[in-house]
């Protein structure tokens, strides 16, 4: 509602906005001149930005990103590249030394060790945490990297090999094993018996005889005579307190009948050799690393 004629406030002689709330009116005092000038200058200034910086989306343009280029030649991507180049340059001081040193040197040098742990920690969270958890604690079917139970070995070279080539992975050098599905080989009673044997073995109780015989004939080849596992074949240790899939009898039975197998992808080619070495040292430092 625009009033027909200007409503002038009696006291100050200034025009009001024409609105009235409970008889209270608001003065329509003009903005201060200095403020207005700054405002207009800012608007003009902003137009300059349209040309100086990338501003307007276009359908075509640089790569798939599109948009006007801007005369400054500045883009966030370029800025990112520059900043990353800075990081690389800062890392370079250690990187060359790191690449030239062997594992034991790195593990005894405070600076290089810190460098490896820092790099390994971030690479781990990016690439490994998905399966092994952010702290490397694993889960059912995904090995815990903190403990001292290593299926394929826990020395620094073993860890590096596993990282590079994977387990049951897609690399020619990958280490591979498969547990047969005993549902097709043994009858149900034998399976129950051997499950009882394994449970007793792990708990340190008296061993059932029939189970012992079945184990001897079918399992010892991979899991070892005393069920303590065979690392060269990747046969898990069944006699300790740590289980990859589950520790109750039913789970053991189903694992014997129709085993599940995890896959560790090969990281060679996906991560740089240097990153793999950093990861190796990081995983080794989680507490279960062997000499």
């Amino acid at each position: 509602m625009r009033p027909e004629k200007k409503d002038i406030d009696e006291l100050s002689g200034i025009e009001t906005t024409g609105h009235s709330w409970d008889g209270i009116k608001e003065l329509n005092t003009p903005s201060p001149r200095w403020w207005l000038i700054i405002f207009i200058v800012s608007c003009v200034w902003a137009v300059g930005y349209w040309f100086y910086y990338p501003a307007w989306p276009t359908l075509t343009g640089n790569g798939e990103r599109g948009g006007t280029e801007g005369t400054a030649g500045w883009t966030q991507y370029k800025q990112l590249e520059e900043q990353q180049a800075e990081i690389v340059a800062r890392k370079a001081a250690y990187q060359s030394r790191f690449d030239a040193s062997d594992f034991s040197t790195i593990q005894n040098d405070e600076e290089l060790y810190a460098f490896a742990i820092a790099g390994g920690k971030s690479a781990f969270k990016d690439n490994c945490a998905t399966c092994h958890g952010t702290g490397g604690a694993g889960g059912p079917g995904y090995p815990n990297l903190n403990d001292d139970d290593w299926i394929w070995g826990g020395t620094i070279e073993d860890i590096q090999q596993t990282l590079q080539y994977g387990i049951r992975g897609n690399h020619d050098e990958t280490r591979f094993n498969e547990m047969p599905a005993y549902a097709d080989i043994l009858d149900a009673e034998d399976i129950e018996a051997v499950a009882d044997y394994v449970v007793a073995k792990a708990a340190g109780n008296a061993l059932p005889e029939r189970g012992a015989v079945v184990f001897e004939e079918n399992c010892a080849a991979c899991h070892g005579e005393d069920a303590k596992g065979l690392r060269e074949l990747g046969g898990p240790n069944l006699a300790d307190a740590i289980w990859l899939y589950a520790d109750d009898r039913n789970a053991i039975v189903s694992q014997i009948r129709k085993p599940k197998h995890g896959i560790m992808p090969a990281w060679e080619g996906r991560l740089s050799p240097s990153t793999i070495r950093q990861l190796t040292i990081y995983v080794h430092s989680l507490g279960g690393g062997e000499k």
Partner: protein, 471 residues
Amino acid sequence: MSDTAAPLKLFAKKERVFPKRVWGTFRKIKWVAMVTLLGIYYLAPFLRWDRGEFAPDQAILIDMPARRAYFFFIEIWPQEVYYLTGILIVAAVSLFLVTSLFGRVWCGYACPQTVWTDLFVWVERIVQGDRAKRMKLHKSKWTFEKIWKMALTHSIWLVIGMLTGGAWVFYFNDAPTLLEQIIHLDVPMSVISWVIALTLSTYIMAGFAREQVCEYMCPYARFQSAMFDKDTLIISYDEDRGEKRGKHKKGESWEGRGHCIDCTACVQVCPVGIDIRDGLQMDCIACGLCIDACDDIMDKIDLPRGLIKYDTTTQLEKRREGIHEKLQIFRTRTFYYFGILAVVGSVILYGLLNRAETELHVLHDRNPLFVQLSDGTVRNGYDIKILNKTHADRHFTLSAAGIDGAKIRMQGAGKIEADDLTVFADSVGHFRLFLSAPKPAAKRHEIVFELRDTSGALVETYDSVFISEKP
């Protein structure tokens, strides 16, 4: 509204204040205070204080990159910043105490805003002349004379501002080194930006904002009135003696009139531009210049001094009854302020004298909470920080008590043993520790880490936990 009536102005423009030169007791005190305070400000960073070879030897230094603050025999780390809190409380309560005794004397004599404004006004007077000349110059057109006088004034202001900002940065760097860098114009960017910022702030605050800072910006000014009471010294014009005021010719009788001759000397010298004869006002900063001005006039017309003086309401009332009343220093209010000062001061002193030279902090791993090992034992991981606040390298032994059969293993570069942890002088040692133990009965078992020095004496303990099952 009739068209002839002039519209009401809703905004009063700030009148510029041109304080007149004055000489007297309080002006002298103000000069002495200015020289002393500026002297301290400019020279303090160059004081030396020997702290051994691993620490800076500057008496007052805030070392941002190394995160240390030094003040003579005191040295604090960032987590001990509560000492500063204590100092701030002491400063605040001291202000309350002084204010309740003497009014806003902090504002009048010691506040940086006042000191620098005073300095700037002095420069103005040297270049442009005293009050009348300055007013004339201010109103005049831009003649050549006005241009060079203004330009000179503002240049000197900017130089003073630069020296102000320049002195500030010495508190954050080693002063002699920085002085050398400044002479060779090889100065870090951070220093340059601080100098520029403080130059501008000094220039604007002391050059242009002046008394408006005290009136509109300063929070102290607002709440200092809460410390006033009837026994507070305030600058007051003695109405009983001064009224009725009026012009006075030499030789006239003083009968039936007041001693105030309405010469407005007190108004002309006032740095905040008030008329003290209107009574106590919020803007008054208790600087006493109007007292000097009035006393000067009283001497000239052979009347006793003290028409304007530091006075209390109580004294005024007693005078009306014909009693001479002394200034009451001790009263309930000041007693409380003294009490608070004593308490806070002793707490700070106690804290400083008993400052721990070593600290142990233990952080239990949250991911994973615990690790089950093959042989049935359980392992927990801990991040250990040992703070060595002394200026010598030290060796410690770390052990865990409260859990049976525990084994400690340190994890890190090289071989680290828990019975010989080296922490360098004035630094924090970070260590990673694994504690393995047979599964305790409780899921969450309380343990205590104990830190001992080489002599085997217990230095610090830290309560932590050993977790063996998911909660």
